[in-house]
Symmetry: C2
Subunit: 334 residues, 2 copies
Amino acid sequence: MKNMTISDIAAKAGVSKATVSRVLNSPEMVEGSTREKIESIMKEYNYTPSATARNLSKQVSSTVGVIVPEISNSFFGTLFSGIEEITNKNGLSLLYCSNEDNEKKDLMALELMKTQRVRGVFYVPAVNYPAMGKKKKIQKELESLGCPVICIDRDIALPFDTIHFDDRKAMKNAVISLAEAGHRRIAVINGNSESSVLASERYDGYLEGLKAVGIEMDEAFVYQGVYKQSYAYLAAKELFQKKEQPTAVITCNNNLGRGYLQAAAECGTADLYTHVSLDKIEMLDLLKIPHNYIERDSYELGKKAAELLISRIAFPEKRIQNILMEAPLIRETY
Amino acid sequence: MKNMTISDIAAKAGVSKATVSRVLNSPEMVEGSTREKIESIMKEYNYTPSATARNLSKQVSSTVGVIVPEISNSFFGTLFSGIEEITNKNGLSLLYCSNEDNEKKDLMALELMKTQRVRGVFYVPAVNYPAMGKKKKIQKELESLGCPVICIDRDIALPFDTIHFDDRKAMKNAVISLAEAGHRRIAVINGNSESSVLASERYDGYLEGLKAVGIEMDEAFVYQGVYKQSYAYLAAKELFQKKEQPTAVITCNNNLGRGYLQAAAECGTADLYTHVSLDKIEMLDLLKIPHNYIERDSYELGKKAAELLISRIAFPEKRIQNILMEAPLIRETY
DNA sequence: ACCCAAGATGAAACCGGTTACATCTTGGAA
DNA sequence: TTCCAAGATGTAACCGGTTTCATCTTGGGT
């Protein structure tokens, strides 16, 4: 059964399509009996206006785009839910595209958003942006979108609104807290801080923490690779072999935390080190396994990001905002 | 900077918009030098055609819809990724909407898909469909979408393509396997089988299993409530209090499995019963905690579902398909 | 009774593409 | 040389809405 059009409805009601359009958009302009007649015909034929046509005609879209690395990662899944809660309330639908933490996909995702002429974009940039040339390209692409962009979780220092957690501060706090508990040899397992702003923020926080408590950085305790479980697994295994051992370890995202736990469980040394994980790791609380972590509430992040976009759409000229969210340290084992 | 239109490009190139449209859609129809000129102008001004206009004009959309209960549940997050892999390859973008396992939201989601005039819909129905009236309404709504619909994970017996796991068989197998290992008192924690096809399939599988091995069903061992962690937690606590105890328990989705584990961990009785979980529970493998589960590969489910939609779009008249996927039992503790 | 403003509705242009059809070239066959 | 088919391009209608502007009623003030 083909979809009805506004002309079909107009014909059945014996009015012009302008009138039908009015009952859709400003019903108060249409005289009572006419409106009722049109409404009943719309109901009878189950008519729903086409967003495509409406968007084209109005020159604005009713959908916003979301670009994240991978939705199956619970951090981003939850972020996405938070975004949805707010956009839904504002009558915006969500167009999803992953970038798989990969620059090429990232550009394709932006291209998609552009052809779709979305109203705004939530953008978690692919994690690595080494060369400045790449960054300029992304910036150009973002600007040519012609719509507001909210950079989430990763501040790639572009002239757009951003919102993310204060990872640097959280890392610093974690180090200080560990030091206060007597730890002097604190290892860290992180992503690559030379190619990722995210990783370098975290690393800087680590260094600041060490400095604050007067501990000299020991390269043997610093692992910076990729944000993958497998990398942390290998790093942990290597740590376990060292002649001089750390007494604490900080893992810098949920995948890395899982990799560390995997290695620890395999060696039966789960509590060899005091472990602080950036991002809570699921199931540990249920299993009553004590767990220290830096809590980043990604649902809240999503909600805040969505509110930021809504306000940006309403006030396009307002100056750029950079929102920093607190990520508290939750201590259970030391 | 406003977006360029096809007319702008045509004007700059000194040709008609038809010609520009041709270099976009069938470049071979355009003479070499003309095409190159147009292409270079498009590149220079970073022109990207509007999908909105194209969709309206072509009378087909390039996006497909996905309706799932909640994306933050890893089962659905992974399902979504699987869908994306295939739709991406086929040049389709994804419009997301959650239904929160709630009928009202479900109808709103379908309405959204209709106004967006999507090319097809992946639909995981809200879990409960008690009254036949509600079902008819959903069916009417689905039909009025005017596009292919793939019902995923939950077969609500409507005339659309479906794909889901053979939960009934998997449950039956699990019971038989437990019985063969000597278990006679096998409890089950499930959703409400009177209001959900999903839950009733699982319950029926459980009953078939009992029957196959000649065990009489004992109501004291059957818990059917809602698919929430908190429900399984309470159910498990209650089981633990019983004078006559089961020796094994089957939990019928990942939330219920988690709730059971939570209760068990709290009582320090993690291995009091042999536990089989429908759906693998994350982290247990990493932590080297042995775990029996019915494995449902939701990434694969998503890919298969997407292939089904692609083929349905290509062959609208092909007869309806109902695909059943195997869900193997993974045994580790008995 | 007259006039005008306000209210209801319609006509038509427009949004940015696609496409059927018309027109104009051009080159090769006869 | 003539003629026609094939190839290149343009014209204009169309997709399904929205919106400006014009037209037509109607009722109240004087």
